[in-house]
């Protein structure tokens, strides 16, 4: 059954998307999500970003379940 997921976006990515949070139908995995985002926001194609699932960086393609917290992270620049 399709369900909606909430995406957080930060820094330069929030700027390009035009919002710090986004609701969309769960594409099922982090790779499908990345593809869908690049289609929906072609500006993201030139940017480097990682994704975090439940506040942990995703290293490989990972399933996304209902209720999980997903975030789009541009390169860090704290300090």
């Amino acid at each position: 059954m399709p369900h909606y997921i909430q995406l957080k976006a930060f820094g330069m990515l929030a700027e390009k998307i035009g919002s710090e949070s986004l609701e969309l139908v769960n594409p099922g995995s982090s790779e499908f999500l990345r593809q869908q985002l690049l289609e929906q926001f072609p500006k993201l194609k030139s940017l480097t970003f990682r994704m975090a699932l439940d506040r942990k960086i995703i290293q490989a393609d990972t399933d996304i379940s209902q209720g999980q917290e997903i975030a789009l992270l541009p390169p860090f620049s704290g300090g």
């Binding site: 930060f10 820094g11 975090a52 975030a71 620049s77 704290g78 300090g79």
Partner: protein
Amino acid sequence: MEKVRSPKNIFVQGPILPEKIAQSIANHATKTDIGGHSIFLGQIRADEKPEGKVIAIEYTCYEEMALEKAFEIREDVFAKYPLTCMHIYHSLGEIKVGEICLFVFTSSKHRKAAQQACEELVERIKAELPIWGKEILDSSDTQWKVNI
């Protein structure tokens, strides 16, 4: 019994003031097993860019993730070095050129542990904490900072 530590807030709204640093140092006078303190301070630099000169950096973060990660880093560094104390503070919001945005403070019986731990903390904070700095230029342009 071992002390159980829980995530602490590391974020400060606005710049870190020298008085806060003095207070933090003074708070350690009662810890008489400390022989050395190592402190790192990050200060906003007026870098010259083709688009203008940096006059401030505006910091934002993914707070829940940053605090979880900062806690993990704290635990790792406490396990690796014989430290008495460790404090990490990072600014959020707009920090002007010349102001302090990062304060890392380690203390130990002998100096080496404090010094090495402090350096390692600064490296890990810059590499692993989800914090972003947007440089505000004197031309009113902005651009996202990149850590090198």
